[in-house]
């Protein structure tokens, strides 16, 4: 985190005027005490700020070529740079409001439990961690494969409540007797009558997709009046003969087989056993077909590509809010603690509901604190850098770019165009100036 970026709503108690008249020696002492600070601020902040403003009107190589506002034109016409500006706008629109709201909710809720210290510590912890380490941490969280990434693992649990994945997602028919695709379901074209045995062979099933518990497939014996059959993995090391149940080929337990009548309606279903055998029982005379519904072949949820180009900004914003919620919560909680309790009590005595007290008394009284958190977050968000460069993989960095990152990549990331880089820095500076003026104004009022 960058503690130095925490904005200030300066409170200002006027320094007491000295009783002794200011003699030369006192001035001298003042100068001496201030000298080191002024040198540091002058050389590393004031001089560079002026330099960067001038530099932004010159080309790639030093001050050789004056280019006017060309660098600024580049800034607003190059797609990678406009993307950065757009992304930063999204950040500003979403993050300060969300972080302030989350902090407010947390601060209010923690007032109601005994173990608020533990909760606050847990939420505040990410504030002590570097944005860099946070980037690494969330990169592990966001891995796309739901087996490996915690966020998508959680997502998969939710998705599976609504839609269970099929047992076989890559299976293909093993002979031309079976037709169809994973999308349409597969049907055995051989007509079936009571007493028939259906052999539905599937292939292209990777070993790790074979349902657990599968044993040697068995072609069942025909039973009078019954329609039965086997659904099996029609493949063994070396190949085997397609369409024939052979030693080494296993059943596909759990696959649901449908029996359809001549109109195509499903009349019976049966689940295959460990050896792949299924039995529809006694069926009324007629011609039937057996098939497997598309559900069996549904692909499991692949997970969101959080680190891909489309979702990278939301992914970054979530991680960023994870960091800053603690700051917002602690500042707002301190504001809540300082709130005059009698005002709240008076409202309650007058019969206001808890919600009314919150909405009409707490929030207005907290407004100054909330605005400080909000403004602090605007500045922080405009300067966001570490998290983006760490969390966004190289392939997504153009899509994830923000102003501070664009400035750095333009100046030090290979292109090394100090002209455009300076223009971006000045643009960033211009964005934070309104906040600066706001602070100075408040400050002056208090002096």
């Amino acid at each position: 985190m960058s503690a130095g970026n925490i904005t200030v709503e300066p409170q200002f108690e006027a320094a007491p005027p000295p009783d002794t008249g200011p003699g030369l020696s006192r001035y001298g002492a003042g100068a001496l005490f201030l000298l080191p600070a002024f040198i540091m601020l002058g050389v590393w902040i004031v001089y560079p700020t002026v330099y960067t403003v001038f530099r932004s009107f010159f080309g790639l190589n030093g001050f050789n070529k004056f280019v006017g506002i060309d660098n600024y034109k580049t800034l607003f016409t190059t797609s990678t740079l406009t993307t950065a500006i757009k992304n930063n706008l999204i950040w500003v629109a979403v993050v300060p409001a969300c972080v302030t709201a989350i902090g407010l909710v947390f601060a209010v809720l923690t007032e109601r439990v005994r173990w608020s210290v533990a909760f606050k510590t847990a939420v505040f912890l990410p504030m002590a961690i570097s944005a860099f380490a946070t980037g690494v941490t969330w990169r592990i969280m966001y891995v796309q494969d739901p087996n490996l990434g915690a966020v998508n693992a959680l997502g998969r649990t939710v998705v599976q409540v609504f839609k269970s994945p099929g047992t076989l997602s890559d299976a293909q028919p093993s002979t031309s007797n079976v037709t169809g695709t994973a999308q349409t379901g597969m049907t055995l074209q051989t007509p079936l009558k009571p007493g028939s045995v259906a052999a539905i062979g599937l292939t292209a099933i990777p070993p790790d997709q074979v349902p657990s518990g599968a044993t040697q497939a068995v072609l069942p014996r025909a039973q009078p009046g019954h329609i039965s059959g086997v659904v099996w993995r029609d493949f063994k090391p070396g190949g085997g003969v397609p369409g024939k149940v052979e030693k080494g080929e296993v059943g596909l337990p759990g696959v649901t087989v449908q029996l359809r009548n001549s109109d195509g309606n499903v009349v019976k279903t049966a689940a295959a056993g460990d050896d792949g055998v299924f039995d529809f029982g006694v069926v009324t005379p007629g011609t039937y077909k057996a098939g497997i519904s598309p559900g069996t072949f549904a692909k499991p949820w692949a997970g969101f590509a959080w680190l891909g180009t489309k979702l990278i900004t939301p992914a970054l914003i979530i991680a960023y809010m994870w960091i800053w919620a603690g700051f917002s919560m602690v500042v707002i909680a301190a504001g809540l603690a300082a709130m005059p309790r009698d005002v709240l009590e008076a409202a309650r005595t007058d019969g206001a509901s808890e919600w009314q007290v919150f909405r009409r008394v707490t929030i207005p009284l907290l407004a100054p604190v909330l605005s400080v958190v909000f403004i602090t977050m605007i500045i922080n968000v405009l300067k966001v850098f570490d998290l983006v460069i760490t969390l966004a993989p190289g392939s997504s960095q153009n899509a994830a770019s923000v102003i501070a990152l664009a400035m750095w990549r333009t100046s030090f990331g290979g292109i090394n165009d100090f002209g455009v880089g300076s223009a971006i820095a000045v643009f960033l500076f211009l964005l934070v100036i309104p906040v600066l003026l706001l602070n100075v104004k408040r400050f002056r009022r208090e002096v």
């Binding site: 503690a3 130095g4 409170q11 108690e13 320094a15 007491p16 200011p22 002492a29 003042g30 005490f33 540091m40 601020l41 050389v43 590393w44 902040i45 004031v46 001089y47 960067t52 530099r55 809720l109 608020s116 909760f119 510590t121 939420v123 912890l125 002590a128 961690i129 570097s130 860099f132 380490a133 690494v136 941490t137 592990i140 969280m141 891995v143 087996n147 915690a150 994870w322 500042v331 809540l336 603690a337 958190v373 405009l382 300067k383 850098f385 570490d386 760490t390 501070a404 400035m407 750095w408 880089g421 971006i424 820095a425 500076f429 934070v432 600066l436 602070n439 100075v440 002056r444 002096v447």
Partner: protein, 297 residues
């Protein structure tokens, strides 16, 4: 943490002491407790995930994520840490990080408290205007200074040196330091200052004997902030260093092959995070105080 002062006196409810009242309170509070427990866990999971990733062998991540350790605790190993701590690049970068963080913290405290004292207790023309100007520097994004400083360092031979990185940090740490310390020093009782001056103590002596000891709480807050800020820095060291790499930069150069280097990235990141966490837990109170002084009071 400020939570101790944040504790709110509960309004006395008439039914507070009856069994029925207790049950009602428990029932109404149960949803809040459960919700907060859930949220608290949610907030801990990413850090826990990093730690568990750091103690699993890299080949474990072909089938399942870090949570497999709950079903197979025997997989846990310190091997990654042993390897990382035997990697010279990492151990060396830890020393550099410490060097940068400590020297920055000391310099900011010394320079900042001198200036803070001058702004609080010395009289000179335009004092408050100059102070406001210094405060205004708080919002200057450090991106404004990267290019000129880079050019300057190349001339002065400060590029790729610990000193160059430290000085940049000090400058950008000063506005906050001066602001925080000046406001704290102003609150020191005037009588103490006056009697010291009447006794003929020099300004330097007053500063050294009175201001520094009395200002210790504010200085402690500042020290923690500065230490964490520089320890956690990436952009400054990335810009002004090449062979001089603090821990963040040293790990950063491995990020390109994230999956393949996970057994180095995860433990090294966790090591880089242990120091700030220890500082945070040891000095929570000062940390929060500084935070509040910087935003609201």
């Amino acid at each position: 943490m400020a939570t101790a002062d944040v504790a709110i006196p509960q309004p006395k409810l008439s039914e507070r002491d009856t069994v029925g009242g207790k049950t009602v309170r428990f029932l109404t509070k149960a949803p809040v407790n459960i919700l907060l427990a859930f949220l608290g866990l949610l907030w801990l999971i990413p850090t826990l995930g990093l730690f568990l990733t750091s103690i699993l062998p890299a080949q474990a991540f072909t089938v399942k994520g870090w949570w497999q350790i709950f079903s197979k605790p025997s997989l846990a190993t310190w091997e990654n840490y042993r390897m990382v701590l035997h990697t010279h690049a990492i151990t060396h970068s830890l020393l550099i990080t410490l060097e940068i963080a400590v020297s920055n913290t000391l310099l900011v405290i010394i320079i900042g408290s001198l200036a803070g004292y001058a702004f609080a207790w010395l009289e000179f023309p335009g004092r408050d205007v100059i102070f406001i100007a210094v405060i205004a520097l708080l919002v200057v994004p450090l991106q404004m200074a990267l290019i000129p400083t880079f050019t300057l360092y190349n001339h002065l031979g400060l590029y790729d040196t610990v000193l160059g990185i430290v000085l940049f940090h000090v400058a950008f740490g000063l506005p906050f330091a001066i602001f925080l310390l000046r406001n704290f020093f102003v609150g020191i009782p005037k009588d103490i200052m006056e009697s010291a001056r009447i006794d003929g103590a020099s300004e330097m002596k007053i500063f050294y004997r009175l201001i520094l000891p009395l200002g210790l709480p504010a200085i402690a807050s500042l020290a923690i902030f500065q230490f964490l800020w520089t320890w956690n820095d990436l952009i400054v060291a990335l810009t002004f260093g090449q062979n001089v790499q603090p821990i963040t930069v040293a790990i950063f150069s491995n990020l390109r092959q994230f999956g393949a280097n996970i057994d180095l990235i995860a433990p090294a990141s966790f090591i880089s995070l242990v120091v700030p966490l220890a500082v945070f837990f040891a000095f929570q109170r000062y940390f929060v105080q500084g935070l509040l002084a910087g935003s609201v009071k």
